[in-house]
Amino acid sequence: MVVRVLLKVALLGLFDALAVYWCVLFLWDGNWTFLAVTAGGTLLLNWLVLSSRSYPLRYLFPGLFFLSLMVVYPAGYTFYISFTNYSTGHILSKDEAIGLILQRTYSPTPSVSFQFWAFGEEGKLYGLVLRGEEDTYFLLPDGQLSSLKGHELTDHDGDGVPDELDGHPRLTRRELFQNIERLQTLRVPYGEGWLRMATLTEFRLYLPQYRYNPGKDILVDRKTGKIYRPVEGKFVADDGAGIDPGWVTFVGLRNYIRFFFDPRYHKAFGRVFLWTVEFAVLTVGLSFALGLALAILLNDRKLRLRKLYRSLLIVPYAIPAFISILIWRGFFNTHVGLFNQALQNWLGTKVPWLTDPFWARFSVVFTNVWLTYPYMMLISLGALQSIPGELYEAAAIDGAGPWQRFTRVTLPLLMISLAPMLIGSFAYTFNNFTLIWLLTGGDPVVAIGERAGATDILLSYAYKLAFQGARGNEMGMASALAVNIFLIVALVSGISFARTRMLEEVSRGM
């Protein structure tokens, strides 16, 4: 016992030492978020280990730790994004955006340019000669510009191209390339701007295009004198012209308001919502019925080969979903699909599986049942193991038939552990973007310009609205939609909970 306590304290001490080390490191880097998380986490852990009141939490802590890090935190971040204008052209902070804009230059017209030659030995740069229309300069490799006076420039063959400078030969093309990195980054102050290498033979004058006035928070275009003011995360002039990039800024509830009040967004919402619920309920209901039936069938010890059967029945689950979805899509193909080929041969008819709204929905549910029932079978199989055989025997003695035994004994007992799984499965199906996207892409079209097709679910509809609109990728909008969808799913699930009286089961502690 003493050894255990000692061991516990020693391990905790070791962990704390490590945590302190990390904290110092984070402090050094000024990484406040990480510092707070580490310090808070360590304190929590100490409390967990040392306080007896927290005993149950010790079991939960490891799981909760990962849950908060990888699920709760990202969800919170999404929530935060939903109040911003995060989107194409608005992904930087304001300071970063201004920094980038201030780097912008322009070459004045008419341009001021200088032909240049570099001199030195064996690739080692001695200096450059810049020859403009009026002046010729000498430029040191470190960017210092001076007059050519006092330097000797010789042109041996008289072709107008100088060959030597102060006895240093002109660099060959290859030697020039060896110095290109340094030359390209040179910014030589000249007049109001600077000279910079523009081509392999020319330096040109560039002027900074914008001036930022921090007091007034405005940008001035030095070329045109136009004034830009910040409007919703972007500098915009009075005539509506804007400067990219913009930055991320809070827009309050705008993303939410747009969804609820802009007719373009909510026109199809009701229809899509209804279908999404239908889709999820049908999938879960049918696949659970099938999965449970198979689990019961295969739980029978009298059935030989049941081990093989079970393995074969799990196949749909073992193939990565995205390939089987594509295979099903092929089956449903109106022209060359297996189903229509068979129908054509036997009945001389064809069914518009993916182009008619009803059949497309049928196909979606059908495929999803195929994809989902092995999971249902597995969890049913697992839950069935917890039902004591004695219960069946007792029921059988009482004269209950197989069906009665199923509805009175098996099902109620199973539902205790499976109801949450079914609700979870419902939530998963509700957001099964992959299936819809790969099988139908939301098609068939219902009405022109409505964006949502007959099989679009809320999430795929949200995706189309946020990422396939005329305004690029609207992450803020997408996040707001995600939050809405989450609230809907949570609400629907909460209601189902109340219905199945799970809460009472939990509170009674079973």
Binding site: I91, I180, H335, V445, I448, M475
Partner: protein, 418 residues
């Protein structure tokens, strides 16, 4: 799903590969990568400058570039189609290009125009492409010279129970239907007197567009043209020799070759006008009459131009120009590019070299009357509604006039023209 990822990555602005001074960085898809690697090797040999070619999936280049470039994390240049130019240039991420005269004279002038936006050049074209009539030589020895011949041939060769089809067009798909919309006078955006595109002049529901789609609608109705025939379906059928004629582009040639199908390429025959004279009096439609057949008009497919676009944020502009002008736009490299990506070269010395190829010639002929796909950002408001209209026409749920009218109205509304 993939797009979802793209979106995420793009929002993160996370690209592990950023341009650095003194080293060139190129983003292109896997088709073009080997060519630029070849040119890069020569350049490194001659100058010692390292050129890195990073393969970025085609669908992700534009999105990643637009976010990565301003953050200083983009490449020096990218390879892409001309319809990116409007959005990229408007976002300020493309450098204006001033071509040396000798190179300019060696490039196809229509292609240069396609890569311009607001009167400035933002890309160097290397290939142009468009769709034409691709036919299986085993089923169609000689391409039909007229629309009537095409129909007769299609009727003879179609048997949906096999299934075998005489003439197909990928659908629902706005792009592949544009030649039929444009033939009798339909268009996307009209032009201002200065020649710039006018986004509020939407010509998708004019008399010409409706007349053209009526012809296609009749084919759907007759069961000649299968509705809902997507890329995967028809290429599968084509590979098995079950499609005689299809409206498609150079990108499908390779699939035919892989399957051992011998194909020919011809222009889509001119379409008959519903009434004479066409256009009806008092209406002005941009049509090109077929001199060989009275009252027939040439289909005008979209022309797409592939080009090199330079980042406005590249720290290596002098090197980029040197590399492109002297090591990429050469006859040999352009020929190599053509071999891997058999689109029609815009670099004229290379074009002359390959013009003897019947496939190149067929496509070049087909897009002779073509229209550059609009490269203004407003185009993104067009596709969705247009697609919807094509789908509903194909499924026989709406008449062409209604469908096109609703789509055009929707586009006008989205663009704020009403």
């Amino acid at each position: 799903m993939r797009r979802w990822l793209v979106v995420t990555l793009l929002v993160l602005g996370a690209s592990a590969f950023a341009a650095t001074p003194g080293k060139l960085l190129i983003w292109c898809d896997d088709t073009r990568a080997p060519v630029f690697e070849e040119a890069a090797k020569a350049y490194t040999e001659a100058t010692g400058i390292v050129v890195e070619v990073v393969e970025v999936p085609f669908g992700e280049i534009r999105g990643q570039f637009i976010t990565a470039a301003p953050a200083g994390e983009g490449p020096d240049f990218i390879i892409g189609p001309h319809d990116w130019v409007g959005e990229l240039a408007a976002s300020g991420v493309l450098a204006e290009i001033q071509l040396p005269d000798d190179l300019k004279d060696n490039l196809d002038s229509v292609s240069l125009e396609a890569l311009s936006y607001g009167g400035k050049l933002y890309g160097i074209p290397y290939a142009r492409e468009g769709i034409g009539l691709v036919y299986n030589k085993a089923l169609v020895p000689e391409p039909p010279a007229t629309w009537e011949e095409l129909l007769a041939l299609a009727r003879k060769l179609t048997d949906p129970t096999v299934p075998q089809y005489g003439f197909v067009v990928q659908n629902p798909d706005p792009y592949h239907f544009f030649p039929f919309i444009s033939a009798l006078g339909g268009y996307i955006f009209g032009k201002t007197p200065e020649g710039a595109l006018e986004p509020c002049d939407v010509g998708l529901d004019n008399a010409g567009a409706v007349a053209g789609m009526e012809i296609m609608d009749a084919l759907f109705e007759e069961g000649l043209l299968p509705a809902g025939l997507d890329w995967n379906t028809w290429t599968g059928l084509f590979s098995e020799g079950r499609i005689a004629m299809v409206v498609t582009g150079p990108w499908a040639i390779r699939i035919a070759k892989d399957a051992g199908i011998e194909v020919g390429v011809a222009p889509i025959p001119s379409l008959p006008a519903p009434e004479s004279p066409w256009p009806p009096e008092g209406i002005d439609l941009p049509v090109i009459p077929d001199p060989a057949h009275p009252d027939h008009f040439f289909p005008r497919p979209f022309v797409g131009v592939q080009g090199v676009m330079i980042s406005a944020y590249s720290p290596n502009l002098p090197l980029v120009e040197d590399f492109l002008y002297n090591y990429v736009f050469t006859k040999e490299i352009m020929l190599f590019l053509y071999e891997l990506d058999p689109r029609i070269p815009t670099f004229l010395p290379t074009y002359e070299e390959v013009a003897a190829d019947p496939i190149v010639k067929g496509f070049a002929e087909s897009i002779k009357n073509g229209i550059p796909m609009p490269n203004i950002p407003q185009m993104s408001a067009v596709w969705g509604a247009w697609y919807d209209a094509m789908a509903l026409i194909g499924n026989q749920e709406l008449e062409p006039a209604d469908a096109l009218h609703q789509a055009a109205e929707n586009i006008r509304e989205t663009l704020g023209c009403k």
